[in-house]
Symmetry: D5
Subunit: 133 residues, 10 copies
């Protein structure tokens, strides 16, 4: 069982993670264009079982003044490698970090997970919030 408890206090400090994200100037800020990044090599740790979880994180956003730099996005996602966190929580936390740093006009974060116990899950978070019918 992995020792995902290591440095738990520091890891739960989300600011510590998000400062890895680097940005660059939107090359076409007068347009509402869309950027999508597929990140199929995401892994974190299930807090209940201590076993690793594996998934794909997909960012789809309309940038405002800045865009996220790809290599820094990779380094940011790797910080979850030994982090104990549930599917629903990690997807919302990644959205919180993304919004705080990149400040997009619109964004979706989707996580798609490999099967556990014969079930597989997806989580989809959107900004701005979607009103229900």
């Amino acid at each position: 069982i992995l020792n995902y408890e290591v440095e738990k206090s520091k890891l739960n400090d989300s600011n510590h993670f998000r400062e890895l994200l680097e940005v660059f100037d939107n090359p076409s800020p007068t347009r509402n264009f869309t950027i999508q990044h597929h990140c199929p090599e995401f892994t974190s740790v299930c807090p209940k079982t201590g076993q690793p979880d594996y998934g794909t994180i997909i960012f789809t956003y309309v940038p405002d003044k800045i865009c996220v730099e790809l290599k820094s996005l990779k380094m940011y996602l790797q910080r979850f490698r030994n982090e104990g966190i549930f599917y629903e929580a990690v997807t919302n936390r990644i959205m919180d970090d993304f919004l705080a740093v990149v400040k997009p006009r619109q964004a979706t974060v989707e996580s798609r997970w490999t099967p556990r116990g014969g079930l597989n899950s997806n989580i989809i978070v959107q900004y701005p919030d979607v009103p229900l019918g």
Copy 2:
């Protein structure tokens, strides 16, 4: 032929099944985000022929205060393994149980069944109810 009649009276008591479902606090209740669980290992028994049916159950929902816990969802679905129940009835009953326990803002339950007699069926139930044109 499987003896799916065993304990029929108790099985038809739906509260008995749904109490297997466990929940946890929605980690991001201020957002309308979406959770999807694919459960491809569902099996029940056809009440007419006594033969097993096989299908996939897909839950797609916007949680309100609570989310369903994955392992308990698996245990809940396994309770139908020796239950005699038709496609249309079991899909609606799963939705009833899900609504009663998880109380989501929005939910869809879809069942997709393997072929029987050269035909294969899907059932889709939505909450809140969809008005027709």
Copy 3:
């Protein structure tokens, strides 16, 4: 060449076919839920060439008071095995029979045919009728 002319007068009596369809009570009539049946083993006969045609019939409907029983749907579709009828006509006739017996709130019947002369066709019929823009 198949003798699809046999009993032509009787076969053209559509009531003769549709009485094969059996129904059961909708287990959840207060909801507008959707049922889909894929029937990939349909065959009829081309009236022009006397050659068999092969296709898939897909029913998608919102039941009202009753649902169609699967085995009777199979027996009904088999009645077209030696029936001489064109793609467009058979798809509309199946919809007519389905509406007359099952009386759904909403229905689509789609037929998808294997290639003939290097071309392959699909026909889609909807109820209630779709107004054009």
Copy 4:
């Protein structure tokens, strides 16, 4: 290089082509139903290079009083086999011929072409015309 110039004057007379299209009475004219024909064996000749082009033509339409007969549609499309004509022009010309003969309530003609010079193209023409936002 193919001699696609043969009988060019006659070939450019579009009425000459479209008179190959045969029709039959719509078996269900009170409904707005949809017919789709996939024709993956289309070939014409590039007027610039004299080389053959290969593509799929897809008709999707809501018939009014008449439907197009399949074998005549095949014979009509074969008339383009040695015809020198560009992607955009042939797709519009097929739509013109189809509208003139079949007079549908609604129609789409789509052509999908195999790669040339590492690029592959699709053309989509709709009737009635689509207003732009």
Copy 5:
């Protein structure tokens, strides 16, 4: 490492690239029809690493008075072969060039890139600009 700096000043002069695009008269200007070109053999150079990037560029547009000629589109895209430019910038620059020369009624330019560092990206630019909800 490729010498993508060669003639950088000239390459950054976008007019120099776009004059490669040739056009022809729209054969059906009274219709709003759609043309799509898939260009899966695009390559440019990452300005940060000097390494080649590979992607597919997809043009989808409604022509106004003129259409883009396919071979010239290929030659235009090849001009980026040794050009140092980021994903987001090149997709917007291709749209700028396309709008300037082809003046379409509507257009989308999408780029889909092969994986780098385990991540793969898509960029979608639309004209006219899409208002956000």
Copy 6:
């Protein structure tokens, strides 16, 4: 239930079926080349249930003096449409008919069937007979 008993005595006379097969001279008899025909529209009737079966028949053979003519092969296979016969028997009977008429140097007949009761079957017959290790 289909009346597959009709003319049973005549149908069981296999010579009656195989005389539908027409042949033409092998255009290259000095070579051992291979011909393969895929026939995905085969249907016969299950003698036990009276229900139709659906499958694909695949012929792979090295012709000797003659080849089978395609249209006659289609007409021959259609003769099984209302014939009551099991998977294993029909595959062997088709091989017997093929060997008797076409006299190939080498042949394989394979049948692949759609699911029945959740199981699907393939039968493979070879000529000359395959010795077992």
Copy 7:
């Protein structure tokens, strides 16, 4: 957790299972032909966890004097539904039962299982035994 212990003593009596298998006379015993049955709806129970396992069983055999009857094969496989048995043991036990009843000239039994703990397994058993290099 399923009560797979029920009637354990009787279930472990393999003769009790295999007597469900029915056979019929090989219609072509002078040939070495091959029969393949795919059974994608197999389920048993893991003896360690009490959780259901799901898999596909594939029989490939050269019959000698008799063939296995399909419906009885289905009923036989259903007997494992509540049986506690490991992947490796059940595949070998199915081969033992098959050999004892059907006495084929040659046979392969393959089981392919859905993922457990992120791993998925296949087991392949052959008769007669395969000598190792």
Copy 8:
């Protein structure tokens, strides 16, 4: 119906076709390496029906002193566009032409045809000839 009879006498003169094939020196004649060309845009005419046939021709060969030049191979295959010839005959004739001009150490010519009357065929010719068991 296409006038494939035009210049029949000249077309049947196979030398007239094969002289379109151009060759270049094998760049590595001391090795037995393999070259494969997939040609998915082949079309000829059925001599019986006058209707076009469509297929893919695949060349796989070990060159000796020379290799076939790709553009000339394309021009050679286009010569069959209006040629009336059966599947089996055209595949053998292409092999004859290829052997006569390219003189390879080893060669396979395979043709794969689109469906006609619900059946689709492949022809495989090999050089040197394959002895039968």
Copy 9:
């Protein structure tokens, strides 16, 4: 950059890893049957870049006296999560551990890796060693 250097001395002690592997008695030791385990959630760390690598490990073996237990195989593979080791070395080391503990009659270990720098690799190790032609 991950701190994969942690406990490097202990991690390089391969015995420390392999003692996680648990075994059970081969249920059918008189047969040479085959077991295959697909493990698509493998991750280790590149010693050169400190970046995580992701791959699938596939075990295919003929057991002798014992079989590997699945859950222990999972725990064993997880030990490489923070281990710095190259593709070729880790595949051979896993084979060494597997042979030392499971002592199979025959075994293959294959690793398939996700792309790095636009290239993706597979490594295949076999036991007993394969003599080269």
Copy 10:
């Protein structure tokens, strides 16, 4: 048209290319194991047309004393980006370079190219040379 003639004399000096290849010690030289590298981002220039060609290069080899280092393999393949060379020649030249530097026990180099003029090609070179039947 790309100026692929630049530095032609130097580029044709193959030693100049192959010295980019770096190697490391085979971690398991006592085994005959297999390494496969897929390189889908290869591009060179057609010497006849001056147009870029695109393909995938696949290396499959049994290392002897040394293995090829992945990043250097990437840099080596990039050297062909502006090199004018035919399919057959470049595949053999890559094999020559690979054999000269890596000295494997066994090797295959395969190139698979995107379509040109509606045809697509693969080239397969093996070491040691394959004797023909």
